[in-house]
Symmetry: C2
Subunit: 149 residues, 2 copies
């Protein structure tokens, strides 16, 4: 079970915007090179983030993107939910499709199981804000100047 690249990129993007709030707006191209994300792919991600109310934008020359809310008010969960839909969902097996989503009573224990896990994940990710994440990133880029070969 892996997180999608899209979600990964989205998180990096939002954190990047938090780290560069003072510089005013950030053009997609700027973010892309800072975070090493394919520009055109990033544009799509930014559209989703905008539709989801996480970032706002300013068009035209000198334009770019910026966070719609203070970083401390944005949770990792909200970003992830926007990109992934459910944080931890049940499978949509062919079996289920054959049954036509008639969720028989035998399915209930499974639904309960997955719901519990999803709740655990949500609890975890709701607690972490983008400002916490950006703090961590900042700390790490200071401490290690990376003299490795």
């Amino acid at each position: 079970m892996r997180v999608s690249s899209k979600t990964d990129y989205a998180l990096r993007t939002v954190i990047d915007l938090a780290l560069h709030m003072d510089d005013g707006v950030s053009a997609a191209a700027r973010i892309a090179e800072r975070q090493d994300i394919p520009v055109k792919f990033l544009e799509q991600i930014l559209m989703i983030l905008k539709a989801g109310g996480i970032v706002e934008s300013k068009r035209g020359a000198g334009g770019g993107y910026f966070l719609a809310d203070p970083p401390s008010h944005i949770s990792v969960a909200s970003v992830m939910r926007l990109m992934e839909g459910r944080l931890f969902g049940p499978p949509v097996s062919a079996q289920r499709r054959r049954a036509g989503s008639v969720s028989s009573s035998k399915e209930l224990p499974f639904e309960e199981l997955w719901a519990n896990v999803e709740a655990a994940v949500a609890e975890n990710l709701e607690k972490i804000s983008i400002s916490e994440m950006s703090d961590r990133v900042r700390k790490h880029s200071h401490t290690s100047l990376d003299f490795s070969i």
Copy 2:
């Protein structure tokens, strides 16, 4: 983020085996029809479950599969981990592949994040045993005889 059908099938299979322990071994074909899983697909899943030490098998006529351990000693987590690899892992983005898994220090906060979530998921799933799951299933197939149209 959805659980794969493979994991879903594997769980149902193991629970099915728990429910039919008295009948001796269960042939793959039996399990397949009881759980409505494509037989040949199930065979592959059973191979994995066997390699993972969760089920054992008896070959030849009258053969079949059975649990390697008592259901109370098998956790949902162990089955799921076997099928999915990591319970909740980081993405393997092209970015990361370009970097050649050099996990720079900037990645650490992310690794920490995913590791925490994975731990939460694990904690949740480690607690639930197959015997609990089979109990729940049993209870539900008794209580509701499903007179729905």
